[in-house]
């Protein structure tokens, strides 16, 4: 059976000789495309929401984050159904224009690299939007006003004051999006786009070469780490701490005339494409197949997903606080490494993370059981790798990055002089953290919790592979049908994923609004 013996040496060379270059170029193309497009979506919307006043601003302010609750692979399927040849849009065009067959007209194909870029950007831009909006809101409006009174146009003031001040948030947001894009498999795979992730899967699962798969993964991560480090190095001298005082909230521009209408239609169009339209399609399917898809287990799966997400979000927040305060209290290379390490899992595809965490925990289990036998106890089986423990750990590996990034950017806005003042007034480190830092980063903590919660609700590959027997989450249940192209049956549980994602969202939003 030599065909399946592990062939470590040849497979990397084989990839280099054949498809590695294509995969690398496509990967770069997808990442660059998603970043640029997300920026185009997020930057203007965040700025208009934070700094301008126009009708429906209050609704849009939180609604623009809603696309986060939709799993990208579901959005991909919905859009493919809508836009492909037999979908309603092309069907309507054919009826309307009297076209007959494929050859009669041109219609862009969604199952392409561009299609994947658009869908990923539509589902991922909220990360950037959220962070940028926070940054713009946190900037004191006085700075902007000063720039304006010194003769700058609004655009110049934006370019020379607001924009540089938001660079840290932008960097965090963009790197989160880049990581999520690198780690995505389901969406690009659905669009038949082959990226380096494809190479990781092929070499590991088909050619059986773990080393090659690990090599490619490490190279991908290395590239990302270099980029992130370069970015933070380039603004190493930039330390910005805001004094509270007049914020943009008090000094919003009131938009009127065609400005108002342009902004309004732009933002609502974005929201419709990224959230409302896919949601309506899901609701339409769910109603049509309601009786087939409603069953008793659905409630159990919802609860499973919910508790899992709550636990993971709580633990991720804890991890984020620990590493971030570690860096704040004893900055240095070690702390930096800690932050980077805790974030890497996000850029790795779920299945790879899953197999990755299986390795140490199965070893631990085997060792533990061996010990038990040596001390003449009976074996207990896979207590770590066969239980929810490993599932939670796998999720943490995947999603800590989001919490770490979110705490990082909100802690960055708290001036260390506050800590110094508190310490010099006799407060201990713990008291300073609790009484000075925590209240100031409350918003960031809630955001971190919510984002991880939503990601955990959507997470599929880690759950699929690491779960114990008879344990379904909404996402794994959805996948059973989706993998057989039966999206109609998956619509109701998919809607539940979205709804469950909205609950903490609304709760936290309420909390934050009370605050303001």
């Amino acid at each position: 059976m030599s065909a399946f013996s592990v062939d470590e040496s040849g497979s990397f060379q084989h990839l280099i000789d054949t498809v590695l270059l294509d995969y690398t170029l496509t990967t770069l193309q997808v990442i660059a495309g998603v970043l640029v497009l997300s920026l185009c979506f997020a930057l203007p919307s965040a700025w208009f929401i934070a700094c301008c006043e126009f009708p429906s601003r209050k609704v849009l302010q939180w609604a623009l984050m809603l696309p986060l609750a939709l799993p990208p692979y579901i959005v991909a399927i919905v859009y493919t159904d809508l836009l492909d040849f037999s979908g309603p849009i092309q069907g309507f065009l054919r009826d309307f224009m009297g076209w007959q067959s494929v050859g009669d007209y041109y219609f862009p194909d969604i199952r392409t690299t561009s299609g994947a870029i658009v869908i990923l950007a539509l589902t991922l831009y909220p990360y950037l939007y959220l962070l940028l909006r926070g940054a713009f809101l946190g900037q004191s409006g006085g700075l902007f006003q000063a720039a304006r009174s010194l003769g700058l146009s609004p655009f110049q003031a934006f370019k020379r004051v607001s924009f540089p001040l938001s660079r840290s948030a932008m960097a965090v947001g963009l790197s989160l999006i880049a990581m999520e894009t690198l780690g995505d498999f389901a969406t690009v795979n659905y669009f038949a786009v082959n990226t380096l992730t494809t190479a990781v899967y092929d070499t590991w699962l088909e050619l059986g070469s773990l080393t090659t798969a690990a090599k490619i993964s490490s190279l991908m991560l290395l590239a990302l780490v270099i980029l992130i480090t370069l970015e933070s190095y380039s603004r190493r001298k930039q330390k910005i701490y805001q004094r509270s005082g007049a914020t943009h909230t008090d000094l919003r521009f009131v938009l009127s005339g065609w400005h108002k209408w342009t902004v309004l239609s732009g933002l609502w169009l974005l929201l419709s494409l990224a959230f409302l339209l896919p949601l309506c399609v899901l609701i339409y399917y769910a109603i049509g197949y309601f009786s087939e898809s409603l069953n008793e287990q659905l409630w159990q799966y919802t609860l499973n997903s919910f508790w899992l997400a709550i636990i993971v979000a709580g633990l991720a927040l804890l991890v984020a606080l620990v590493v971030n305060f570690y860096q704040r209290l004893s900055p240095g290379l070690a702390a930096k490494m800690c932050i980077r390490l805790s974030s890497l899992g996000y850029a790795v595809p779920g299945t790879v993370v899953a197999i990755g965490v299986l390795i140490p925990f199965t070893s631990l289990d085997l060792w533990f059981n061996q010990q038990l036998i040596e001390y003449s106890f009976s074996r207990v089986g896979l207590i770590f790798s066969g239980s929810l423990f490993i599932l939670i750990f796998g999720y943490l590996m995947r999603f800590s990055a989001i919490a770490v990034g979110s705490i990082d950017s909100s802690l960055a806005q708290v001036s260390p002089t506050l800590d110094m003042a508190s310490r010099s007034l006799g407060q201990s480190v713990g008291q300073t953290i609790r009484r000075v830092n925590f209240p100031l980063i409350k918003k960031g903590m809630l955001t971190a919790f919510i984002l991880v919660f939503i990601e955990a609700m959507k997470e599929l590959p880690t759950a699929l592979l690491l779960r114990p027997f008879n344990f379904e989450t909404l996402a794994t249940y959805v996948y059973q049908f989706v993998s057989d192209e039966m999206i109609e049956y998956a619509a109701l549980p998919a809607l539940l994923i979205v709804l469950m994602g909205l609950i903490p969202f609304i709760v936290v939003n309420r909390l934050l609004e009370k605050d303001c």
Binding site: H14, D22, S101, N194, G381, F384
Partner: protein, 338 residues
């Protein structure tokens, strides 16, 4: 992250739960590459007959790695999978054990089980070539024809890397050698109407939409589409053809089962294997999933039977599986999916 105390407490708690599960009634644990809802009706029948509970864990990727890592502690008794290459992979990585069962030996013909009884096929499926019933009609065709210039721009298929296609390519390598297989694969690639994408049903839909005239697809999808209100019109747009009838015969793949090396519930697991090879389960595979039963004497469903008899490729499955890696590499070399 966790204090030692919490860890110990947690471990004890989980250990207690684990042991209490172990003392429950008889059960069988399955790692399944096949969707749970496909096999659940069959398992329910088994539980009703024997009282043995069946636990299923379904995933499409990574299950072999999981069994391997779990080693002697693995809770899995059986791995259920489609595609011969996975069965052989499990066996060659020493994750299986042989089963000596008269019932299995009687029910499953020799060519559908491992010579050392490490794996057993339960159903077979044909890699068909669908043709547009409107523009082409039923045709006599070979896989080799798909590389001919007159098929330019007329062929649709899912990703070449999907196990079903990898095995087809592997079978061509096994028959003709790597060099000829490469020329053939390049020819097919040049004839594709679009980049490989979607699944087998998607290709039939593409034929209906007029994007292509021929599509590669497994036989049972047609059965499923006929019974799906939304997809029945796709099914009606194609004719099903059994390729290579005058030459080597149609490429046939299998779904099958292995008993894991450290199966904790061996006796019950073997009972389930025997059940799966028996009349009741074989009939259900045929009726519910439109696959061909391996057991001699069990008839395929009426619909499947209506597609007619066909000549199957007689090359031993193990020979095809041996070319799996070569096939994956060949698909990269000709950049089939790009």
């Amino acid at each position: 992250m966790f204090s030692k105390k919490t860890l110990t407490r947690g471990a004890t708690l989980v250990a207690l739960t684990a042991t209490s599960f172990a003392t429950l009634a008889e059960e069988v644990n399955i790692y399944s590459f096949r969707q749970a809802f496909l096999i659940e009706p069959i398992m329910e029948k088994f539980t009703a007959e024997t009282g043995i509970k069946v636990n299923i864990l379904f995933a499409k990727k990574g299950l072999i790695e999981r069994v391997k890592r779990e080693g002697e502690l693995s809770p899995a008794d059986l791995v259920l999978t489609t595609d011969i290459s996975r069965l052989v992979k499990l066996t060659s990585q020493d994750l299986t054990q042989s089963v000596n069962s008269d019932i299995l030996n009687k029910n499953i013909p020799t060519q559908y089980r491992d010579p050392e009884n490490q794996w057993f096929a339960l159903t077979t499926r044909v890699r068909n070539i669908y043709s547009s019933s409107e523009r082409v009609g039923p045709v006599e065709i070979t896989y080799q024809d798909l590389a001919k210039p007159e098929f330019k721009g007329k062929i649709c298929t899912r990703s070449g890397k999907h196990p079903y296609n990898v095995s087809l390519v592997a079978s061509v390598i096994a028959h003709e050698g790597e060099a000829d297989a490469k020329v053939w694969l390049e020819g097919v690639k040049a004839n594709l109407a679009r980049k490989p994408q979607g699944n087998d049903r998607g290709q039939v839909k593409a034929v209906k939409d007029g994007l292509c005239d021929y599509a590669l697809g497994n036989n049972y999808y047609l059965g499923k589409m006929v019974n799906n209100p939304k997809q029945v019109s796709w099914a009606e747009a194609v004719s099903i053809n059994f390729p290579n009838q005058k030459t080597t015969g149609s490429h046939v793949n299998v779904s099958g089962v292995v008993l894991t090396k450290y199966a904790p519930n061996k006796a019950s697991a073997v009972k389930l294997m025997e059940f799966l090879s028996g009349d009741v389960a074989q009939q259900m595979y045929a009726e519910v999933n439109y696959e061909y039963p391996v057991k001699v004497g069990v008839k395929p469903s009426k619909l499947v039977a209506s597609w007619g008899e066909f000549k199957a490729d007689t090359l031993p499955l193990a020979d095809i599986a041996k070319q799996h890696k070569a096939a994956v590499k060949l698909l990269d070399e000709v950049k089939f999916d790009l």
